[in-house]
């Protein structure tokens, strides 16, 4: 995008690059190429480094720690982080609950939570999906019933990413089971994970990692003051949350980083005549991804530009296209990397132990590849599956 970025934006990008090069801790740098990726400590440390610089929450209002960057600058920033890669600022904090509190929270909530969200003193997770409410999120059943100055919460959330690391959860709960439409009886509630009656149970996933959990609420007592905004308006806040900062959702930098890694690895491995990197089929696959990324990047720029013009915080259905194509390309690059590594993807992480402390460092390079590939299958499932994104396009844009 050299042509499309102004010279000031190039200077800005170089500033970001230089900062990352100087400040990214060695452990985070090393773990970026490993699987599982970053430890909780890596994530917290990096976010605090960004916060110290004033870059933890670029898109928040300036009074709450935002930067006043343009949408293009914010895009450049997040893409540089992904491309390096660095740990990402915790999305639950900075992209999800943070903007909701900034916009709909009361003064007390703003004062208490916002600085802690920025600095990752509090780690939030997201309690939306339930066993019976996936794509049909509005059918959720977890209930919050008023009792004095508290809600009593009962129910179960599932696919709760990072719940095992989280201090708090922002949950959609049903406060009015008799509302005219299911969407109208939902509230947005902040719950301390240390509360009595909260149980977290991990779900093993196919990528040798722990991301997702079940979270059970058994008569959990939550102060009424922990509700964000108005009671029964939670669905609106959830829609706001999902529509917020969607332009980063395509994660172009992540795909570029994977593609770069695939090329590097292919240069070391053989094909029929010379290295795999020179194989016409392989080069063709890389070129296809690059073409797709170019179209996607310009589409992102167009949508950013339009959003600036719209000056409207309602979700732009066109961002569904970014999620759709972005996720597909993430999967293609994960697949490409796995295809390059070939049979070397077989070992599990236990190979490290098998070498009894004598593990050759270069093997780390291929170790994360297949978990990554399996993990990437979730990209078209979470945050609204690709099928849901197509529904949004056909209803919201085409009027079908």
């Amino acid at each position: 995008m050299e042509l499309a970025f102004s010279s000031e934006e190039i200077v800005f990008r170089d500033e970001i690059r230089a900062f990352i090069a100087e400040k990214l801790p060695e452990s985070a740098r090393k773990n970026g190429g490993r699987w599982p990726h970053w430890s909780k400590e890596d994530v917290v440390t990096w976010q605090r480094i960004l916060n110290e610089k004033g870059w933890a929450v670029p898109h928040w209002p300036v009074e709450y720690g935002g930067t006043n960057w343009t949408a293009v600058q914010r895009y450049i920033f997040i893409e540089e982080l992904l491309r390096t890669p660095t740990p990402e600022p915790l999305s639950f904090n900075v992209n999800m609950v943070g903007p909701v509190i900034c916009t709909f929270g009361n003064d007390g909530q703003k004062k208490y939570f916002l600085p802690k969200l920025r600095n990752l003193d509090i780690w939030f997770c997201q309690g939306f999906s339930e066993p019976g409410a996936g794509s049909d999120l509005a059918s959720l059943k977890t209930s919050a019933v008023k009792d004095g100055d508290e809600y009593v919460v009962n129910g179960q959330k599932i696919w709760t990413s990072q719940a095992h690391n989280a201090d708090w959860i922002f949950a959609l709960v049903r406060t009015n089971p008799n509302a005219a439409k299911p969407q109208m009886g939902i509230s947005f509630l902040l719950i301390d994970m240390k509360s009595e009656g909260v149980t977290v149970r991990g779900i093993e996933t196919i990528d040798e990692s722990r991301h997702v959990n079940e979270v059970f609420f058994d008569n959990v007592r939550v102060p009424l003051s922990n509700i964000v905004g108005e009671e029964n308006k939670g669905w609106d806040y959830a829609k706001f949350l999902l529509g917020n900062e969607r332009t980063g959702i395509a994660r172009v930098g992540l795909s570029r980083e994977r593609l770069g890694r695939a090329k590097k690895l292919a240069a070391k491995l053989p094909s029929f005549n010379g290295p795999l990197a020179d194989d016409p089929q392989f080069k063709r696959k890389c070129a296809t991804v690059e073409m797709q990324l170019k179209s996607l990047e310009i589409t992102i720029m167009r949508i950013i530009d339009r959003q600036r013009r719209r000056n409207d915080s309602t979700p732009d259905p066109a961002t569904s296209m970014l999620k759709l194509r972005g996720a597909e390309i993430q999967q293609t690059t994960a697949e490409l990397l796995a295809d390059v590594a070939g049979p070397m993807v077989a070992p599990t992480g236990q190979i490290r132990a098998a070498y009894e402390g004598d593990f050759p460092a270069e093997l780390e390079e291929t170790l994360g590849i297949i978990p990554h590939y399996f993990n990437s299958r979730a990209a078209t499932i979470y945050g609204g599956s690709n099928e849901i994104q197509r529904n949004i396009i056909s209803k919201g844009i085409l009027g079908l």
């Binding site: 589409t299 950013i304 194509r325 197509r390 056909s394």
Partner: protein, 396 residues
Amino acid sequence: MRSNVISSLKVFWGFKMDFELSNEQQLLKDSVSRLIADNYDLQKRGAIIKSADGYSKTVWKQLADLGLLGLSFSSNYGGFDGGPVEQMIILEAFGTGLLIEPYLATIVLSGTAIQSAADENKKSELLSAISNGDHLMAFAHSERLSRYQLSQVETRAQLKNGNWILNGEKTTVLHGGIADTIIVTARTKGSDRSTDGISLFLVPAKTKGITINSYPTIDGMQAADIKLSNVSVPQNALLGECDKGFLIIENIEQHGIAAVAAESVGAMQCVLDMTVDYLKTRTQFGRPIGDFQVLQHRAADMYVAVEEARSIAIYAAMMTTEKDTEKRRHAMATTKAQIGISCREVGQGGVQLHGGIGITEEYAIGHYFKRLSMIERQFGDVEHHMTTLSMMDSPD
């Protein structure tokens, strides 16, 4: 108008990210769209196709009077100093009406050749002549065995007694039958595939020794096969430097790519709109077929394909004047590959979702499908450009 066009271009050109049209650009868009809407419904277009010349002198005159033909040429030669964005606007509008006038042949391809290679005299003579609609031109490069290889030129030119003597055959020369002047590419040295040794010549169509077989193409355009037997033109018919024509040809093709990219976006948007309309009105099983999710999702995929094409057409417009040859090559190959993929997705999808009437000559969708299918194959198809890209390093 002129200075405003320039200032809006500067904004577009990456000093600041901005995809919005300026007021002048919006006016331009509106006036071209109106012209197309008034003159290019399917019936009128059909009549033009059946007419003797296969294009409309009336429409061509209107385009000239509106200043659209000379829009992108320098004001030194009677143009309006418009840029790639203006060109894109015009062509997108042409695409919505499936315009079959000789704009691509005369203005885009030949105009680019003149602008990039002709001397001052020829520039002022020819650019003003084609701008005011008095003069038509064609670019005769393709040969039966060249397919998408730009350097495959078997037609020969030899300098004899102060004249160039041309011999060979050109095929599917767009609007070759109605051109007053034909730009002919010919080999002045080297083997049939060498990039070195190709030259361009300005040849009046009436020159002795030229045989032109003109015919309609499947998408309603006109093309011609042109045979050159000992065609003699004066020494100054040479366009650009002798033997060094390859880069000019490549530049012409790149402008062609940017042009058909924009045109295809206009055509694809029409296909999408018509298809969505059809999904809303056609009922089966007691409800509009657009209620069925499987059809909704195909329409959503078509929408994404149109938007990707739109993005890449903007990119192409921005990159036509990129100075770095390799970057420009990469950008144009990227563009044409994406455009080809989108054309196919949208064209085939539009026909499929229309069902039986999608393949009738009577209904519009098939005509759009035809044009999109030809654009896929114009200036290199998806396979060709993907192979090109595979052999290059990505600038990103």
